[in-house]
Amino acid sequence: MNNLEKTIVKTFGNIVTRQVYANPGRVRRLLAAAYGLVGWRNALLRRSGVEKAYTRMGAALSRLISKSFLHPENAVMVNIFFPCEILHSLDIIPVFPEALSAYLVNSGCEQVFAEAAENADVPESFCSYHKIMIGFAETGVLPKPLLIANTTLACDANRLSFRRLAEYFRVPHLVVDVPDRIDGEAEHYVAEQLRAVTAFLEESCQRKMDWDRLCETVSIADRSLKSYREYLEIRGRRSLPVTMSGELYSLIATHVLLGTPESENYINTLKQVAQTAPPAAGKKRILWLHILPNWQESMRVIFEQNGRCEILCRDLTYDVLTDMDPRRPYESMARRLLHNINNGGAERRITAAVHYAKKMRADGVLLFCHWGCKQTMGLSQLAKSTLEAEGFPTLVLDGDGCDSRNVPDGQMATRVNAFLEQLEAEK
């Protein structure tokens, strides 16, 4: 961001913050207009390399958020793991906390929403993505969606915030229970629940699910995941200027937007760019576990601009890259949920981290403990000791992906720099 952009963001953030309580409707229209504008601007930008993929995805996402504000009656609030192929096939817009909160912090106005939630008894120690989303909804800025649907995967926050918001908005709340154990019965159990979600949605939005369209969506999803696997394969040998926001886009492409042409395009572009990228040399290669604080200037300087290191990928994007069978869409979606590395014990996530650290030729691993994320914090030391025993120095870094209040900025920069020095000294 240049200085002018920073000033615009700050002024915008101040305007939003001042108006939230007095005129939430106006704030909503303002945000919808701003995100819509950013979307169109990005769509028109001519960029090359990874930036080409990023600006296009950024455009798609901004327009998605803007559309969800303008047509909430056609939007369903979901969590990041919810299999949205169902929604895309019914032309329903997904709304989810990770994008909302990340956009709000990047617009400099997240604090007012976090505080509103805390004033309404949401625990301070609660995951800030969900906290900001609750504040955003309960101040009246986020419009009432058609309904709320979430999976019990992967954390407690899902269980709490979506239930509360369904009560607040008085909209139906559908929960897909994902058991820890993986077997045929569990697959059947989850697939049946997903079928029930479809039936409920058909009823609510008065549209019939077109079976062929669902199969086609799942087929796009399958191609995209295969393509993403190939991308990671290539990425392991190449150097690429991956950004923190870029990794947010990759997360969304492999999750909520999976099955859409935008997601497939994004992943294919990424793969093409990687194919022609220079071989890995010199920079320290960091495998990132969990959230990236893409709003934080000091972290952007270190990871995107200083030329000492590069981010390889984050574990949330490779959490489940299984094959999908377009002829059995529900079973395929169910399998994706069950086999997610975040489902069940920490072992799965740590084993996957070791696997990808080797595959991507990482020099070190950064495990980011996002404020309130107990599932990640709880396994942080276990992951560190396992990864280090495998020869991957690991930094456990506390911070926040979307609430600037929880962040000791200077201390974080010092710790990351010391870690990079350690990596540089080793080889």
Partner: protein, 402 residues
């Protein structure tokens, strides 16, 4: 000994398999070792269990309750010191599919436990244990502790402080199995487990379950006089329950947050006393009208730094006040303050209809007719001065409170 933490643990099944069970609900002095293995902001109860389990590696049956419990299990499993460590997958509701899943979990536990101990299921023991866990009726006024589990030390402390019977209806406390079905004696093992899985899932839902509407029975009770709402530091579930409860009930609520160390308790004493005062305002024993000549009323605030006294007349007008330093002897300082106003007003102790003491030294002033917590006094004083006041910040010598 087989430790457990969650009310959905099939305690009766474990007993029937010969286990000696114990709920792990004890405080610890610090979390140093537990935090080295996890993180500072993990739930304090999970950290307390971890801290204890590092010393005593008894058998442990955990439930996939929350992220903190899941990680507690992961860390203990990686250490590999427990002779029996098991995590049960708990469904999020009690619909038929969920019951089936949970029944399978019961079978799995039964298999693992009996093969580890070479024990067999004792049907009579099982039935007796289930019978014991049936609900008792409450037919007298009571207070309830709701919310997240309280430590055994805290529960004891609360019981001592409140003047009512106190029921532990927290997540780990309200474990009351439904009545046994007819014909239980003739059921085979599978049928028994089918019923048992359902009975466990039909317990009053905790906040971890998807449908929490049934929690209402916890506070919709005519004998319930007030609620002590407890949350555990770094536990997220129960802040959400508290927000809902506040909307649903008009009963007085006191919210306390503890961290599973003894440090919490000291801070609760005054707030509990004030809560009791609000439940049943203290009748101050005024001396009979004829026995006292005066119609003055005094309030003494015996603080850690200063002792203040204010005197009102019958028309509620402030007629005198004084501030003296609180010395080593609380009573002496209070007397000095009283003497100062007496000399201003030209009266003696007999000029007062009543004297009420508050502040940290309130119980050491023998000439006061009553002792009331500063919380209640602040509330009444602020209301007297301006009924619109909703928040009071008390900047005191020893501590600042809101």
């Amino acid at each position: 000994m087989t430790g457990y933490t969650c009310k959905y643990t099939p305690v009766e099944l474990l007993i029937a398999l010969g286990a000696e069970t114990k709920i792990l609900n004890s405080e610890v002095l610090d979390f140093a070792a537990a935090e080295r293995l996890t993180h500072t902001t993990l739930c304090c109860h999970a950290k307390a269990v971890l801290q204890q389990s590092l010393k005593e590696a008894d058998e442990l049956v955990l439930v996939s309750c929350c992220d903190s419990q899941r990680r507690l299990h992961d860390v203990l499993k990686a250490r590999g010191k427990h002779s029996f460590l098991h995590l049960m997958a708990l469904p999020h509701g009690d619909e038929p599919c969920a019951r089936l899943q949970f029944k399978k979990e019961l079978f799995r536990l039964c298999e693992l436990y009996s093969s580890r101990h070479n024990s067999v299921f004792d049907r009579q023991k099982f039935i007796a244990a289930c019978r014991e866990a049936a609900p008792p009726a409450v037919d007298r006024p009571f207070l309830a502790v709701l919310g997240a589990r309280v430590s055994s030390q805290m529960l004891e402390f609360l019981q001592e402080k409140v003047r009512y019977s106190l029921l532990d209806l927290t997540c780990s406390g309200n474990r009351r199995l439904e009545n046994l079905p007819d014909g239980i004696e003739t059921m085979d093992f599978t049928e028994l487990m089918e019923w048992y899985a359902g009975a466990l899932l039909r317990l009053v839902p905790c906040m971890r379950m998807t449908d929490v509407a049934g929690r209402r029975v916890l506070w919709e009770n005519d004998n319930l006089q007030g609620i002590i709402y407890h949350t555990v530091k770094f536990c997220d579930y129960y802040g959400f329950d508290y927000a809902r409860l506040k909307k649903e009930t008009k009963l007085p609520i006191l919210k306390l947050e503890s961290d599973y160390t003894p440090q919490s308790l000291g801070q609760f004493a005054t707030r509990l006393e004030a809560f009791m005062e609000s439940l049943a305002p203290q009748r101050i024993a005024f001396p009979p009208k004829k026995a006292v000549g005066g119609r003055l009323f005094a309030g003494i605030d015996s603080g850690s730094t200063t002792t203040n006294i204010v005197v009102l007349n019958e028309k509620r007008e402030i007629v005198a006040s004084a501030t003296v330093r609180t010395g080593a002897n609380v009573e002496k300082s209070a007397r000095a303050a009283l003497e100062e106003v007496c000399s201003k007003l030209g009266t003696g102790l007999d000029g007062f209809a009543a004297i009420v003491a508050t502040g940290y030294g309130r119980n050491s002033i023998p000439f006061a007719n009553a002792a009331v917590t500063e919380i209640t006094c602040h509330a009444r004083g602020a209301y007297f001065l301006n009924p619109a006041v909703r928040t009071i910040v008390d900047i005191a010598g020893a501590r600042t409170a809101r």
